[in-house]
């Protein structure tokens, strides 16, 4: 069960400002049934059309989506439009005493609905990211949830997200088929001006010492992490010329497909170190 704060629970069980405003000045809609959550936000301005005097919402979604919507409407009442635009998704989460990281996308949805509502009211370009709406800005990165690079970069920068997993928690991007995760990593690198780690190129000629170092490097950085993901592991036993002896550990030891794994290790070493490498599985 999610570890929701008392404040989240309270706003979910007794949400403030549910409903609609018939003569609303601004309405913002984000999300869709397919996405699993959606928010429709109504804003009423004062006579000078400056300050928000009332805000109401309708939300389709989980407990934290409803609580985030409720929090948002409470936070923006009394603010000018410009002040309201400064509300960040983190502030919505903070208002609720925090959200589980996997649920941060609920706070992002709130902040986004607000931006859409105000942009529509002001007649500026509407930056809607979901695939049910026509207006798109940027290139769609996550096809499952219809999210663009512009939107993702904004959330990455605003929340200082450094892993693809965090981006998924905050925006859902990459949470469907997962096909866009490499692209999300590139966007993170772009935002923080990091260099994307280039695929290692196979060196032309190697001394024996360098070759041994490279084999160890590839095993440590490329191969073992992949085995760990399946609960397995391996140990380097010996390197004799081009023959690499390994012993399987954990789930790989005695695994029905360890023969296949050995082939995988061999191919990886051939790709990244030298073509003549053979891998032998030994007891050790």
């Amino acid at each position: 069960m999610w570890d929701y704060t008392e404040k989240v629970k309270e706003h979910f069980l007794n949400p403030r400002n549910v409903g609609d405003i018939k003569d609303a000045d601004a309405v913002g809609e984000v999300g869709s049934l397919a996405c699993g959550d959606a928010l429709k936000l109504f804003i009423k301005l004062d006579g000078n059309k400056e300050r928000i005097v009332d805000a109401k919402f309708q939300t389709f979604g989980c407990g934290s989506a409803i609580a985030s919507s409720s929090a948002l409407t409470e936070m923006i009442k009394g603010k000018t439009l410009d002040e309201a635009l400064l509300v960040t998704n983190q502030e919505i989460a903070d208002f609720l005493g925090g959200l589980p990281e996997e649920k941060m996308h609920c706070s992002v949805m709130g902040q986004e609905a607000l931006e859409v509502a105000i942009a529509k009211y002001r007649g500026t370009e509407v930056k809607v990211h979901d695939h049910e709406h026509a207006a798109q800005e940027g290139e769609v990165v996550c096809k499952c949830f219809g999210l663009t690079d512009q939107f993702l970069k904004k959330v990455i920068a605003a929340n200082k997200l450094h892993t693809a997993e965090q981006v998924t928690h905050f925006t859902k991007a990459g949470g469907g088929c997962g096909g866009c995760i490499p692209k999300i990593r590139e966007l993170i690198a772009e935002v923080f001006h990091e260099k994307v780690t280039e695929v290692q190129k196979k060196p032309e000629k190697l001394t024996n010492l360098r070759k041994m170092q490279l084999i160890q490097d590839v095993l440590e950085k490329e191969i073992r992490p992949q085995l760990w993901a399946d609960g397995g592991d391996l140990e380097l036993v010996d390197i004799a010329g081009s023959v690499v002896q390994i012993a399987f550990r954990k789930a790989c030891a005695g695994c029905a497909s360890s023969g296949f794994t050995a082939k995988f290790v061999e191919q990886k070493l051939r790709d990244l170190v030298a073509d003549d490498i053979t891998v032998e599985e030994v007891e050790g």
Binding site: F12, G36, A38, C62, G63, F260
Partner: protein, 389 residues
């Protein structure tokens, strides 16, 4: 708050009689059944008795019962064993609606060079046996297809499936974790090679499972070490839990009729009354043959986690096929495989009953759920459109 526990496909209460049976084997009768003294020997006798009781529920022979730590271990062991026995064969068949204990295993093997076929289901969650017939070939090493689905309760015809599989010389394994104790099984008349069950789904404790292995079916152990379980599953026996599982199987055998009469009629009443009171609901897999205890109901325009949290306020424990409850972002793979529309998939709730469920509990759900759905629909932009239409 007293719990109204309707989440028995997730786990079950340990029956008091089962707990009484296991209790002495912690502090008093703690001997190791392998020991060469009276103290261990008396535990060995109880383990044998438990094996007989499990075998009796399955219509199996005692030597066909291998105790494991859980359903997942049984599933993993069955598949890995088949691959080791027939290393030259490279094709595995399963279904898109399988439990992760089988599906994740198969998908991982797919990444390691095995050819994996995942059979489709129709909108009611049923298999097309012609698709299986076309898929199974001489390269097929094992077919692993569940007996009953944990989310919808939809049952697959394992004997017909087994006949198709055997014709091609492949092994057939079924994950019967949800079916054992709810529907009768008779392995003596069956052709199924391997079958998994889990203790905590039938009122035994968590941490005990069984792999049924038909006599004569070739096998390679997953856990190796000591001679326990006739070298088929090493590791000192979890004696108290094995003894508990034996008792649980004995009791389950006595309640199988109850399961298919009283419990089934409670489940049917729950479904019928909820559908009568709540517009735009549907039973997932309602037209298929199903377990008697499971109701998976989809309500349009609302989200499952919100329903569960509001039910929980009344002490009602159920579960959901929605994305938000699992931490994943897409609705359950089972509902998606069935093609349940997104408008419904996010709002699917599963109630799963047990012999401890009562009419009063069902009444409470029937009383509270319509208001919860209405409240969430009034809050949902799609629900409001629907309500005003």
């Amino acid at each position: 708050m007293k719990e109204i526990y309707l989440d028995n496909n997730a786990t079950t209460k340990v029956d008091e009689a089962v707990f009484d049976e296991m209790r002495p084997y912690f502090c008093d009768l703690y001997g190791n059944p392998s020991s060469m003294h009276f103290f261990g020997g008396q535990v060995q006798k109880k383990v044998d008795e438990a094996r007989n009781r499990v075998a009796a529920l399955l219509g199996a022979m005692p030597e066909e019962i291998i105790f494991t730590a859980c359903g997942t271990e049984s599933d993993n062991t069955a598949i890995r064993s088949a691959l080791e026995v027939f290393p030259e064969k490279r094709h595995i068949i399963t279904t898109r609606v399988e439990h992760p204990a089988v599906l994740t295993m198969c998908r991982n093997l797919g990444k390691r060079g095995y050819r994996v076929t995942e059979l489709n289901v129709d909108s009611e969650g049923r298999l097309d046996l012609d698709e299986l017939k076309k898929a199974v070939d001489d390269d097929t090493v094992i077919v692993s297809i569940m007996h009953a689905n944990n989310e919808t309760g939809v049952m697959f015809p394992i004997e017909e499936i087994s006949a198709i599989v055997k014709e091609k010389g492949a092994l057939f394994h079924t994950d019967a974790v949800q079916a054992v104790g709810k529907v009768p099984l008779d392995m003596a008349r069956s052709t199924v090679d391997m079958l998994s069950l889990s203790g905590h789904k039938l009122h035994a404790p968590k941490g005990i499972g069984v792999l049924y292995l038909r006599k004569g079916v070739p096998f390679r152990p997953f856990m190796v070490g000591g001679h326990q379980e006739r070298n088929r599953r090493s590791g000192t026996e979890n004696t108290a839990s094995i003894i508990a599982l034996g008792k649980a199987c004995e009791v389950a055998g006595q309640f199988i009729d109850d399961e298919n009469t009283r419990i089934r009629s409670m489940r049917d009443r729950l479904e019928n009354e909820l559908l009568a009171l709540i517009p735009n609901g549907r039973i997932n897999g309602g037209k298929a043959e199903r377990l008697p205890n499971t109701a998976s109901i989809a309500f349009e325009f609302v989200e499952g986690e919100a329903i569960l949290l509001l039910l929980s306020e009344h002490g009602i424990c159920a579960s959901s096929g929605s994305a938000c409850t699992s931490g994943s972002l897409e609705p359950s793979h089972v509902l998606r495989a069935m093609g349940v529309p997104f408008t419904c998939a996010h709002g699917s709730i599963r109630f799963s009953l047990s012999r401890f469920s009562t009419d009063a509990e069902i009444d409470l759900v029937i009383r509270e759920l319509p208001g919860i759905i209405r409240r969430l629909r009034e809050m949902s932009p799609f629900g409001r459109e629907f309500l005003s239409a």
